[in-house]
């Protein structure tokens, strides 16, 4: 069964599948019945302008915002409306918007907090070392409090912390938000590294160009609905996308 819209075939291998998802946010219907799926091992991005409903979609998925209608399936099971803490225990982790690191805790303590759902102490210690290997910058500052890190470093920490829960699916909400251009580049490299580690990722981004460059597939969201979907490279060259999000004229 081939999906004409998304350009990807079959939902048998889908790790995350949204169907006709509707989420209201503060009385406004921010997500108006969207279909989206992320297959195992994929890096999929959901792009769109500010206020398109991307973050609300993510909040709906991880139980931070009540779902109005539609279903969310994760690993074949219906998880609609399940609370966030339960999802983390089943391998669905998220990095919230604005990173949400524990500012007064040290980097090491932050990472340890990421492993809260696990009880295999020895393995946690080696995994923390692995994260330090992935992000050497964090290792240098391991005993510093997270609040003293730069925005980019905090984003790395947030991602490293999420990885410590051993997720199979990682939801990233605007990892490039508020970062200097050089740091944005760095963060996207990190996203790719994490993806290559075998973690399935749904990336929510305003920075359409970079997001599409690193992703396998992409969805374009506009006022609560998916307007375009397909192969990331194709979208990157789609005139409509270029005009709307990459700052080029349609002509």
């Amino acid at each position: 069964m081939s999906d004409p819209v998304t350009g990807s075939s079959g939902s048998a291998s889908a790790l995350l599948e949204l169907s006709k998802l509707e989420v209201a946010y503060g009385g406004i219907q921010a997500v108006k019945g969207i279909d989206l799926h992320v297959d195992k091992g994929e890096l999929v991005c959901l792009i769109g302008a500010n206020g398109a409903g991307k973050t609300t979609t993510l909040k709906g998925i991880c139980g931070l915002q009540p779902v109005k209608r539609g279903t969310i399936r994760y690993d074949g099971k219906d998880i609609t409306g399940r609370p966030a803490f339960e999802l983390v225990r089943n391998g669905l982790a998220m990095v919230p918007e604005g990173r949400g690191v524990f500012g007064a805790l040290t980097i090491e303590e932050n990472l340890a907090m990421g492993a809260y759902v696990r009880d295999d102490r020895a393995a946690i210690a080696t995994d923390i070392e692995r994260i330090f290997h992935l992000f050497p910058r964090l290792k240098e500052r391991r005993r510093q409090t997270a609040g003293t890190l730069s925005g980019g470093e905090q984003q790395m920490l947030a991602m490293g912390r999420a990885l410590l829960s051993k997720p199979r699916l990682l939801l990233l909400d605007e990892p490039s938000m508020g970062l200097a251009p050089l740091m944005v580049q760095k963060v996207f490299e990190t996203v790719m590294t994490v993806s290559q580690e075998g973690v399935t990722i749904l990336l929510i981004e305003q920075n359409a160009k970079l997001a599409l460059e690193v992703s396998n597939r992409g969805y374009v969201m506009e006022s609560g609905a998916i307007t375009l979907a397909g192969d990331a490279k194709t979208l990157l060259h789609d005139p409509a996308v270029r005009a709307a999000y990459l700052g080029e004229s349609a002509a």
Partner: protein, 357 residues
């Protein structure tokens, strides 16, 4: 204090220090009794406040939930004890049954307060808890009609003291040549409870639960993203803090023999909160220090201010009570200026304040 009592870094001095503190705690009531039995009573009340502060510290210090009605749980514990062990209902259950019941009832009320406030933070939470404290007190004041449950503002009198068989905590007796008055016996009981509560607190702080509270205090959304069941953890903080309050309330009722709603007014809640804040929110030793200071200093003033003025000016110029509030206010202002995280701040609080600068 930390370095002195660190068993790992410095085992010898730590053990000597602990032994000295132990001996001092054992001898203390007799030394105080030599000055006057009133001082033993004051000490007992101070230990009760230490217990209350440690209970409130779980809610405020560990989980970061501001509670301005904490004294309500003290009241619940006290009234539970008074109703089940006094002539009021002609029930005389032994204390080892009533105290756990008091803890359980207070725990229930803690969860009852926690449940509707799960989504509230900061000022809003403070207002709701403040209201809760007042509601409990007003209920105590008015539950004398149509069925007389609490005996209203008159309170409940002739509350049973602790008794084990024929051994009563209220009677004076001489054991091994030493004069054991009622307050001295209660003192030892309180010390045992206090040690237990300190151990529970230390264990909690370094447990998974303690870490979950830390995360919630720092950032609730992020805590949820870590897989922490924030709802249950917040309820647990309220319930645990409340049950400590309930136990303290039961002991309070037994030592006083009389309770009335007047003992559980808002100022008492604020006093306990001040102890926690002054000593150092989140640091068990700091909280204990804060409670001891705020319990004893006013009493010392009561005994020194009037005679000092008599000696200096020949008459009483300022009431001791006024001086007390004056010094209390001054102490809080000085603290906010020089040690905003408390006299003995928790390492984490210190970092929190520094990172906000």
């Amino acid at each position: 204090m930390h370095a002195l009592l660190d068993l790992k870094q410095n085992p010898r001095t730590a053990w000597i220090g602990l032994a000295l503190i132990g001996v001092a705690l054992v001898v203390l009531p007799f030394a105080l009794a030599a000055v006057g039995t009133a001082w033993v009573r004051i000490t007992n009340l101070a230990i009760l406040f230490v217990l209350l502060s440690l209970g409130l510290n779980i809610v405020v210090g560990f989980a970061g939930l501001l509670d301005l009605g904490y004294i309500a749980f003290y009241a619940v514990g006290a009234y539970t004890y008074a109703l089940l062990a006094s002539p009021h209902f002609n029930l005389h259950l032994p204390f080892w049954i009533v105290l756990p019941i008091g803890a359980a009832v207070a725990c229930f009320f803690g969860a009852l307060l926690g449940a509707p406030t799960l989504k509230l933070r900061g000022d809003y939470l403070a207002i709701v808890t403040l209201g809760f404290g007042e509601i409990v007190r007003i209920f105590m004041n008015n539950l004398s009609q149509p069925v007389n449950i609490t005996n209203g503002p008159q309170g409940i009198t002739l509350i049973d003291p602790f008794r084990i068989g024929s051994f009563s905590f209220a009677e004076r007796e001489t054991i091994a040549g030493l004069d054991f008055t009622g307050p001295v016996k209660y003192y030892y009981f309180l010390i045992v409870v206090l040690l237990a509560v300190i151990v529970i607190n230390l264990r909690l702080q370094n447990s998974r639960i303690g870490r979950a509270w830390e995360a919630i205090r720092e950032d609730e959304i992020a805590a949820r993203a870590m897989g922490i069941n924030t709802r249950n953890m917040k309820l647990l903080a309220f319930a645990m803090g409340a049950s400590f309050g309930g136990v303290s309330g039961g002991i309070f009722a037994a030592t006083q023999g009389f309770i009335s709603p007047e003992s559980f007014v808002l100022v008492e809640s604020i006093m306990v909160l001040s102890m926690v804040v002054l000593g150092g929110m989140g640091n068990i030793w700091g909280v204990i220090l804060g409670a001891v200071l705020l319990s004893f200093v006013p009493e010392v003033l009561r005994y020194t201010v009037a005679p000092a003025q008599q000696a200096l000016f020949g008459r009483l110029l300022i009431e001791p009570e006024v001086i007390r509030m004056l010094l209390f206010g001054l102490a809080l202002v000085l603290m906010m200026l020089f040690r905003p995280a408390g006299i003995l701040p928790s390492a984490l609080r210190k970092r929190e304040l520094e990172s906000r600068k």
